[in-house]
């Protein structure tokens, strides 16, 4: 089921609101709403879930206008950041809740609960209470509870937020696999761009309540519609006022490109970061792989020239339609140097 937001606005005072959001979440996609804290990500999710009603605009699930539909009638699976377990119920009762509310026959509920617990690998935990579960287990219980009602759409608010690094990584892979298996349109909120890029097949970048850009992760990474998106979605550095990716900078002999001096070299495993001082007095940095560095090593204090790689990545273009799909910005801002082939 696709989700369509049309000029949706919800104001709360200073932050957390959303402003004139128009976007389409494709059916069957795994979409991440990404942005810094206070950008209105959770609000957008709650608007879709019906836990918040918009001040203006329309929300459609497929062709069904749900803007003012009570959440109980939306048939949406919502997983909360704190998992919101029903603490007085066992895991099985938690999962059964939505079905009991729907007055399904007892045998059907039992079967469905067993199926869901199997799916989230919590079959052995059926008679435990939430307080006896770890964070990751509670997250999976919340997922089973949301999925039990066969929702039209699955909404996940910061699903990896409160977990430690290893569990996060596991759960990330697992959610991706789960999505591949059940294909329910899934929207998740995160502030971690790596997580979003890894898990999602479609991104919506929010900033101060507005959609900065939406599209596929590679699309947004390679063709950021604004400096904000460029900086938010990956490493960035600024040369002559133009923000670009530090791995798109190439070292050339002195005399070519922009003159610079190497000030620092740090090795982070496979990655090398070269800090440079530009003639203008600005600092910037170059990101290289170990192999690139070894093929053309530099030393601290060395004078070099830098130029922009014949980019697969266009620098920041003008702000375009929020889906960003129509735009493959020509290098309007490629004022740095003429691209040269290495």
């Amino acid at each position: 089921m696709s989700i369509s937001l049309e000029k949706v606005t919800k104001r709360f005072g200073v932050t957390f609101g959303v402003e004139d959001v128009t976007t389409l979440i494709p059916s069957g996609s795994l979409t991440a709403i990404l942005g810094p804290s206070g950008a209105g990500k959770s609000t957008l999710l709650r608007l879709i879930g019906g836990l918040v009603t918009p001040d203006a605009g329309r929300i459609l699930i497929d062709d069904d206008d749900v803007t003012f539909l009570d959440p109980r009638h939306r048939n949406i699976g919502f997983c909360f950041q704190n998992y919101a377990p029903f603490r007085h119920m066992t895991v099985a009762k938690n999962v059964a809740y939505g079905l009991k509310v729907r007055h399904r026959p007892r045998a059907e509920i039992a079967d469905r609960v067993a199926e869901m617990l199997e799916l989230v690998r919590l079959s052995d935990f059926a008679s435990r209470y939430p307080a006896q579960l770890s964070g990751g287990e509670m997250q999976r219980m919340a997922l089973a509870r949301a999925l039990a009602i066969a929702p039209r759409v699955l909404l996940l608010d910061e699903p990896f937020g409160a977990l430690d690094a290893q569990v996060r990584a596991e759960l990330r892979t697992w959610i991706k696999e789960l999505h591949d298996r059940i294909h329910v349109t899934t929207v998740l909120v995160t502030h971690d761009q790596n997580e979003a890029m890894e898990v999602a097949d479609s991104l919506i970048v929010l900033n101060e309540g507005r959609v900065e850009q939406a599209g596929s992760p590679t699309d947004l990474y390679d063709h950021p519609a604004s400096e904000f998106v460029l900086q938010f979605l990956g490493p960035s550095t600024t040369i002559d006022g133009v923000a670009l990716r530090p791995h798109d900078l190439v070292i050339v002999p002195t005399g070519e490109g922009t003159p610079a001096t190497v000030t620092e070299i740090s090795t982070l495993g496979f990655e090398i970061r070269i800090a440079i001082l530009l003639g203008s007095g600005e600092t910037a940095w170059i990101q290289q792989s170990r192999a690139e560095f070894d093929a053309q090593p530099v030393t601290i204090g060395q004078s070099i020239g830098i130029t922009r790689r014949d980019a697969t990545v266009s620098p920041v273009g003008t702000r375009l339609d929020p889906r960003g799909a129509a735009d493959r910005a020509p290098d309007s801002a490629a004022a740095l140097t003429q691209p040269t082939t290495p």
Partner: protein, 280 residues
């Protein structure tokens, strides 16, 4: 424990204080009720002495005399009813205070604590004026159990509200949102999600209100109207004491004490059992 004072001296202090304030008086009344006299010998040691009447049957006949039994029974069922009624209204009032915002909410907060602040005998006078023979609303509850009930509802209300309110405030509103998104309506969500989370607090409020009602004297002694049928245990104890019937007064006290303790203990056990499941 074990902070500023250290565990050993801290617990010694606690025990001394508890003994002085709580345990010794209770032991004394228990001894008196059972007909045991205690005095100290020349060495400062306690000497227990069973008097001629100090057998359990003496105690038993003291508390099962018809007026004693009636008074104890009246105190118990009135207190249980009052605690139950206020458990319901306590939740309702706490819900309104926590969830709604309206003009005069601060004022209402204060009004709920009024029974805490008011000397109970003043409340008693107020009720006699309001529901007495010259009642301005033409309701005469003097000498009726209804009169006692109204007075007890008044003095126990703050316990029921204040026990539930902080728990309701700290309740995870996401759980309610989860319930709604799973298809439950407002009533279903309240009954299946909110109420079970409040249960330990409701039981605590119930216990506090019950304990308060059992011990209440000031606010009901006037409206009871000196009738035998509306003499509660606390009233009877006062009457017996005034008539210098000290042993029976103590016996009734002990019976009331034991029954109340049993009830409070079972409430406590139930409440902590639920609480453990909720938070572990």
């Amino acid at each position: 424990m074990g902070g500023a004072l250290g565990v050993a001296s801290g617990s010694a202090l606690l025990m001394s204080y508890l003994s002085l304030i709580v345990l010794i008086p209770i032991a004394a009344i228990a001894a008196r009720g059972l007909g045991v006299t205690v005095h100290t010998n020349g060495w400062g040691m306690a000497v227990w002495h069973w008097s001629a009447s100090s057998d359990f049957s003496g105690f038993w006949s003291n508390v099962t005399q018809s007026d004693s039994a009636h008074a104890i029974w009246l105190s118990l069922w009135l207190s249980l009813s009052v605690a139950a009624v206020n458990a319901v209204f306590g939740v309702v009032i706490a819900m309104v205070l926590v969830r709604d915002s309206f003009a005069g909410k601060r004022l209402l907060e204060g009004v709920i604590d009024l029974p805490f602040a008011l000397p109970t005998i003043v409340a008693g006078v107020v009720f006699v004026y309001l529901y007495g023979g010259s009642s301005p609303v033409h309701v005469n509850l003097i000498g009726t159990w209804m009169g006692l009930l109204v007075a007890l509802l008044f003095v126990t209300l703050p316990f029921s509200v204040r026990a539930v309110q902080p728990v309701l405030e700290s309740l995870d509103s996401n759980a309610e949102d989860a319930s709604r998104s799973l298809g439950a309506g407002g009533f279903r969500t309240f009954a299946s999600v909110v109420l079970p989370s409040l249960l330990p607090a409701i039981l605590t409020g119930f216990g506090l209100a019950f304990a308060r009602a059992v011990g209440e004297f000031g606010s009901i002694t006037l409206i009871a109207g000196g009738q035998q049928t509306t003499t509660t245990a606390s009233n009877l104890i006062f009457n017996l004491f005034a008539g210098q019937n000290y042993t029976r007064a103590a016996a009734v006290s002990v019976a009331l004490l034991v029954l109340s303790l049993l009830l409070l203990a079972s409430i406590g056990v139930t409440s902590s059992r639920i609480q453990r499941r909720l938070s572990l």
